[in-house]
Symmetry: D2
Subunit: 419 residues, 4 copies
């Protein structure tokens, strides 16, 4: 039904060997400007501050997710048989386009801007955009159906699970990709074996019992990547500083909008109203970083300073938070001329390796299927995972502050300077 490319298009990829494209609509989406924009958004917010080679973008990751979905719908026999060509294409497109709405330094930015990437992704698909036109031209139902799969509300729940379940193409790609580009071994697991052991049972994606070890490995990979990469205190430091910088811009915007003349790259997001798609298109990391460079020459001393710290990587130091840590650091900061609102920050993060939760049609569960076709939730079948579910939640409570303050803190405090 969908037009095929003249011959299969391939793109070299270190994670998957090659990305294979057979359909013209997919090839056209890759070449659309909203998708090409993802080349200017890093995949990992602040992690390249710790792992200097983690410089890969959402562009590469999106291609990788597409490729995994493609393999799933073509190679998992029960999926390949039961899905129509239309549904297969829609699923592949959902994999490809699921991150379209990400802004620069995404999580830091979203935290202060009220602009959620999920919502932007939906708008790019459904409003007037090059992507929207390409999808509509191929099939008038596509924009809505792709948006529905990404939004986890498509009528055939299998497609939702492929793109964003607990064992989905998104996570599989980012764990492997982030491990490769950070140069760590934490994120590796045997995707080939997982793909080979996925079955469809009672309308759920489920892994055969013989694949259970690969899934345990995947759960551990996820857990380790969180603590070693995604929540690394130094990466958090960078993200926190960017969030504080935006915080400061929001305050200034309310007080004195004229300050932002010549800083138009930031204004749409400060306005806070419904931003035009086109404005989003313009706000990429190039724009933000150039904006930071301009801020270093502006009059507001806080923005000027924070922007220079971000660009030159003079990251905040951090220390374990005890009962009174925050209360003790704030006056020290103040005494040294730093406004605690922008210079002292408490950061609490927790992460469980895996939490089965059987609501919402079983989405948040990894299913195991035995030879009799009975489904069990992963932790019922895996002693290891069961132990992890019961494990004490690991927490990280830190207070961040300018490294220059360290000599003023009580001696003996366990402070870390950058890297």
């Amino acid at each position: 039904m969908f037009e095929r490319t003249e011959e299969v298009k391939v793109m070299r990829d270190p994670i998957h060997g090659y990305i294979h494209v057979h359909y013209k609509v997919i090839w056209d989406c890759i070449n659309a400007r909203e998708f090409q924009r993802l080349r200017r958004i890093h995949q990992l917010g602040g992690d390249f501050q710790v792992y200097h080679t983690a410089e890969h973008t959402r562009f590469s990751h999106s291609l990788g997710v597409y490729e995994i979905v493609r393999r799933m719908v073509e190679e998992i026999e029960e999926l390949s048989r039961s899905l129509s060509e239309y549904e297969k294409c829609a699923a592949m497109l959902a994999g490809l386009l699921h991150d379209l709405g990400h802004g620069p330094f995404s999580h830091a930015f979203e935290a202060v801007s009220d602009c959620h990437h999920e919502q932007f992704t939906q708008r790019i698909l459904l409003e007037d955009s090059e992507i929207h036109r390409i999808l509509s031209a191929a099939d008038v139902r596509l924009p809505q159906d792709v948006a529905d799969i990404i939004g986890y509300r498509y009528k055939n729940d299998l497609l939702n699970q492929l793109v964003s379940g607990q064992l989905d193409a998104d996570r599989m790609d980012y764990l492997l990709r982030d491990a490769y580009f950070t140069g760590t071994s934490y994120g590796t697991f045997d995707m080939e074996r997982i793909l080979r052991t996925i079955r469809i049972q009672d309308a759920h994606l489920a892994v055969k019992e013989s694949g259970i070890h690969s899934v345990e490995d995947y759960i551990m990979a996820r857990y380790h990547m969180y603590w070693q990469v995604y929540l690394h205190p130094v990466a958090r430091s960078y993200e926190i500083m960017i969030a504080l910088l935006f915080e400061r811009m929001k305050t200034l915007w309310k007080q004195k909008p004229s300050f932002f003349a010549g800083l138009e790259m930031f204004t749409p997001f400060l306005i806070g109203e419904r931003v035009a798609i086109e404005a989003l298109f313009l706000l990429d990391e190039a724009a933000a970083l150039y904006g930071f460079a301009l801020l270093t020459q502006r009059s507001d001393p806080i923005l000027r300073d924070l922007a220079a710290r971000v660009l030159d990587r003079r990251l905040f130091a951090y220390t374990q938070e005890e009962a009174d840590t925050y209360a003790k650091i704030c006056p020290i900061a103040k005494a040294n001329g730093y406004d605690p609102q922008y210079y002292v920050h408490r950061d609490h993060v927790t992460q469980k390796p895996y939490s089965p939760y059987k609501g919402r049609q079983g989405t948040h569960v990894i299913w195991i299927v035995d030879e009799q076709g009975t489904l069990s939730e992963l932790s019922e079948k895996s002693a290891i995972v069961s132990a992890l579910v019961d494990a004490k939640v690991k927490e990280q409570h830190l207070v961040y502050y300018p490294a220059e303050l360290e000599p003023f803190l009580t001696p003996g405090a366990d402070a870390h300077t950058r890297q």
Copy 2:
């Protein structure tokens, strides 16, 4: 003190890049006949029956253990400073020579022969052998000290821990090496980081808190390798058949020793008395496999059949053991002409990911050291490991029998043929 090689000797190794040898006594041991014999003993008993590329030998593994010990005593600063050159060499030699006494298909063979490789290793070091002469010539204390380190009774406990603690050179090499040669990803962990974070505290090897994730990864790698490789039912099938074959030989030996004329490669081990070192030297896997080939032409139908099965890989099938499985299969085997003693076998294996046990000077514990120099046992610091310690022990209860019997078993039994 020890003579150095003219220039550093290097051997290419896929796991470590290169094996580096600086001392003549080590180079000479590598070239000794008892060490070269390890080229004729596979590292993994029956696993190449499942993972066909797992064809590596104890020779390569022994070089790898040596290389890790060498790096430990040279690169871990506190070890490098505190150990004498003599102790460093003794530790490296212990790493190199710790597997010297292994016989063919080691665990299967030991199970029936009362010949334990640990004891043979000690004898090769201490009795009249080429290795013994090389060590004595370098320093008269060496044979006993190397044997003591391997036996975990050397006076400086650090050396014992390097070679056979819970986080020792032996395990680190075999996990990485077995993963590489099976082609699986299960055994990978970040050895570089572990080596970088090892410290000496209160006479214990301990890992800095910042290395705790690498150690968690190592524990999981170990766990997965056990279930995916070392205890794989198909690998067990091969090892069980070899054990049954030796069992049968023992019985025949008691009844009719003349049967073994022309099968002299087996006799020393059947005699059961104190075997000469030289006899051990001759019993390698080449001898055993050739002996099996001869057995296929001998009159005893059981040996004849079992030997042919082993050589031609007609492995026993297996099924989950329920209360009466064994009782049900035995008469079926008998009715089909198979003596249950040699043709039906129950196999129970269990494996915990990690069990801290603080006896014997803390050997069986992985220690974590914090910035204040306080030691804690790993599971006190790691929520994951703590959960694993409390996890239900995973068990595998199987019954093995000739695959030809499958049609005679109750239909519906969950039987697996080879691979």
Copy 3:
């Protein structure tokens, strides 16, 4: 002499395992703003347009070159013995800082701007910069000596060779790194073996005869990377479009400088006079890309169009150049409204695998040293390399033009659209 870091600083790196830093002056340079700026300059100009994961920056590469120089001066015994600590540090710093002056899309940009990165690198080292202050504080001679090593004019020629000979740390890092990040196997060679076989003979770096195969492999890796990556027609297309875009800006600047109000990121380079170091500091790829985004909304139709093509990856198509290709395409372009000066471009590239040239103290030669200590130029010892030296030079003559023109070209022309 130089202050050491408290403990060795390490940074994970997929190419080298870890980058190790022992000296405070090196650590401080890494943290200097001019060095951090390299995070905003891609290592490969247009190659991420072909190999989408080639998104790594000059920051990572510079760390890698530093690490190789560090290993050379520490691990090559004759270097380690003969160089003073001062010279070792100066060489490591030269490796680290050799790319400091690169601008955005470096080669494309240099082609039109008269701003050569070599010259900027020298100025950053010698004029008033954070790097200059750090180097001077460590040793007043350092800025000039580091600049001299990078400029290949330091008095001890060995240091020049380490950083920029024919078999230098720069090339070794980029071949391995670019291969890793493109996901191709072309750039791999056995660096470990080359490092192990480097000797010093008659004041030249030379490779022992036993390492000759590794060097042949390195020469081939270089050759293949050129054709498969660096000179790939699609990568060239991107670089050519950026060069044409700058060309157009230069023309406009002469006609109407007021056009550039609000485009201050570009002006310093258009002025053409001696740019201030600070201006260079600001011109990174973030600034250039944001500038391009602004250009898409400006009045000049050529800049507007070319900038949008670059951002959205609507790359020029290309065809083999025959005698009259260029002459035929130009009027077709014109007839379709495209000014040939900015829309039709001839590109000629050639590349030899290796050209020995024995001038200038033998710089451009790879020396092989035999067991008698006699030096020979590589191609005298290697039949393969000798054949390559005599090989016909491979050439690539292409004409680039907008892909929309393809239907208008003579049918049968061998035109390639993007990717």
Copy 4:
């Protein structure tokens, strides 16, 4: 037509990820005793004496060749379309079974025994064997057709080319596999790309012009593997000693056959008459090595000594051969009690990277096909390969002798002891 396995059978393989088996006849052949025997024949004769991890067998390699043929006939579109299922299966079987006739230490052994593995392979396929019965049962034509493909005389020449052309499945697998198991990088090339660019043109396998770099890389990989692995002087030393050992056995056999009582593993090959298939089946490396162990206790001093050297790796030393080297060493050997016939050996090897030879239907040529469908021989299209074709042939002329003789040789001779 052919019966399929119940579900696809997979075997983990580090080179190919997984080996996939869809047909019962192929699965049965893998499980046949003549194929399982290949587990007891190393892939590389003496190379594990240099690269200690090169312990892989012809069993793994044969599975790898099968997998590449399978991918070729399924993934190369023009092959997939034009071949019948019968021809596809025959080609896959030919890939799997092409090495069936190899004896122990194959090349060394063949050199003296007049037993060529090609001929044995044909006999196992065509005479009474388990493999023959399996093939015949699947299709009565199969044994002959598989034998014909392996013998390069099948009527559809494409099948011959797949298994043993210049760019065939056999070489591709062994280069990649030997590189992996030696731990060197020399044998790597981009097989994925080569497979993707293979086309059928005028009944020839040909590579598209865009794949030419991958083919150049493959040619270089081949060349380097020859010199760094296959022809390594230390590996040759081991193979030469085994050849001399067999030489000595042949002489003794003629003089005194009774010597071989109890050494029956060797007799069939000494008899020199048409050996029974069953005798070949028994002569594997286990038998040969056990035979060597027995020889160390026999009366003939030459066999006794050579066998012990082989088992204990006391390899011959070697020196460059000058005009009179051999003539000088022989009397020295004699004077020290060594019979030069068995203790001094000249070895001459040469290797060209690639020699196009257009006879025999173009077999010995790699074809390149351009966009117009014109075929050219590789060296006409590749400047690099053309240069290599014209390169001086590299030669290695060495004389081997017992290492103990070194002190007696003229001082200054360039002698190498083991490794």
